[in-house]
Amino acid sequence: MDPAAIIQAIPPELLRMVLALALLAAFVGVNGLVLVYLERKVAGHVQRRPGPFEVGPHGLLQPFADALKLVGKELVAPKCGDRLLFWLAPVAAFLPVFVSFLPVPFGAELYGLHVNLGLLLILAFAGLGVLSLCLAGWASNNKYALLGAARAVAQSVAYEIPLLVAVLAVSFMTGSLDLAVITAGQGSWPWQWNVAVQPLAFIIYLICAVAETNRAPFDLPEAESELTAGFHTEYSGMGFGLFFLAEYANMIVVSSVAVVLFLGGYKGPLADGVWWFLIKVYAILLFMMWMRWTYPRVRFDQLLNLSWKWLIPLSIANLAVTAVVVKLL
């Protein structure tokens, strides 16, 4: 068996995908730590206090301490809950993130998989996150968790519609669902990005992204002060750690898609490249954190009203106008 022949027999896309998955795992892991630290620091400074400060210089080692603590805890499951579903839920929350990252172009040649339906892939796997919330709530054998899960499903379903319609408007304009093509269609300067042409779609997308990731004023499913901890009440240790990590990973995914669709992807003034992509992604992440510590949590009926009565009509109107403009010009 010739080693060279074996290596040549492996399709290059598979090799590329495996390499990309390994790098993405590292990226998500490192970002998880960085975002946890940043969130606490931003929260602290908005509240005029230091945030983590003692563990390491300026609290830089705090995420490592937290990770070690979570890993070292006992894995406890409720006695009468569904054991399989209970442990499946955090894994199902965490794994789709890696698939969602594959079609995203970090740089001109930095993508995991060239999928001409990249946008559809991402949106499809975002739905799996909702499923994991359902599983978590049901398998916990806890009425608070179940209520939290029910609210989460209602919220996600309500906000997926305007998200899709807003994204659809951009696809109409660009004529493709391929993220690489969408990025290539934008220029380097901010007025050449899609946000200049579709500002309403950008705002709607941002609101829906925050709602989909259960962040900021839309964190009813977690509702720390109301439903004990919502759907992850019964989780401790690594189960909770995975949900936590999945939330931050999902944040990065929606921010990356926002950057690709609306903010020019890896293109920027002076020099295109992955650095611009990362700067923009972090800008959106910091904005999401900023929003979290500004706005109070919306009530459930207010949440659904916002989606069904405001965002959906607005996004459909936006799509209609886009379609007319694209077809007539």
């Binding site: 400074h45 230091p50 900023w290």
Partner: protein, 254 residues
């Protein structure tokens, strides 16, 4: 009309969102309010409520103002105070102990009186209020409600500003308030030739025990304003960082 009203309401609502972001954004850039203890110390502890401490008399800093009325002991909801009365002091309403010094025979007849009775030459012992011999506070039980401080008729109790109180055992927090006061307060300097020393001697002021051993820069004169509480004049209050400072600084207690 209501549509326009609705739209205006929405517009002002959206603007309020932006204003909110501005408020948190500005706060993000403002300096922290947190005091990084122990690298920094809160500069003004005037309103800090630590455990209870005794307040000394203005003219005799080794004696507390306490008159043993037991109000604080009775009003304390946690029953954490206890005291014993000093039986060696002459108190009002108590018979003077018999057999004082200088029991010389009094001449009954009006003969030659060359021997002067020392008893009559001595200034009479002033009877005063009861004073405590011991005053114990069990800080393990105290809830810092302040009822004792509030209800003391002679203002003999105050809150200390001891922010560094820490110990390893329950017993560390059973506080001898009288001992603490005496270690904290310095004895008065007897002014030369004013006879003050003898009055104090007559009143049987207890010997300042631990206080004497402390190396003091200078014993202070009694001041009415000096009610045992540090008025936190700048450098003294913030000098609490040095744990080895002598008690004579009488700032944050021992």
């Amino acid at each position: 009309m209501s549509v326009i009203k609705e739209l205006r309401r929405t517009a002002s609502g959206l603007w309020s969102l932006v204003v909110g972001l501005g408020v948190t954004g500005k706060n993000f850039l403002k300096p922290q309010v947190t005091v990084h203890y122990p690298r920094q110390i809160v500069p003004n502890l005037d309103s800090y409520r630590g455990h209870i401490d005794l307040v000394p008399l203005d003219d005799d800093p080794q004696t507390p103002r306490c008159i043993c009325c037991m109000t604080c002991i009775n009003v304390c909801p946690s029953q954490c105070l206890s005291l014993t009365v000093d039986r060696d002091r002459p108190a009002k309403g108590r018979a003077e102990p018999a057999g004082e010094a200088g029991d010389l025979p009094t001449p009954k007849d009006g003969g030659n009186m060359l021997v002067v009775e020392p008893k009559r030459m001595e200034p009479p012992k002033k009877a005063g209020p009861k004073r405590p011999a011991t005053f114990i506070k069990d800080y393990n039980l105290c809830s810092l409600c302040g009822l004792c401080v509030q209800n003391c008729p002679v203002d003999s109790l105050m809150f200390s500003r001891d922010i560094k109180l820490a110990g390893y055992r329950r017993e560390d927090f059973v506080l001898d308030l009288l001992g603490r006061m005496r270690a904290r307060e310095l004895p008065l300097v007897p002014a030369l030739g004013s006879g003050v020393a003898s009055i104090r001697g007559a009143q049987g002021a207890s010997a300042p025990a631990e206080g004497q051993g402390v190396a003091a820069p200078a014993p202070r004169k009694a001041k009415a304003a000096d009610r045992g509480g540090p008025d936190a004049s700048g450098p003294d209050a913030s000098g609490g960082a040095g744990a080895g400072q002598p008690d004579a600084s009488k700032d944050q207690g021992s």
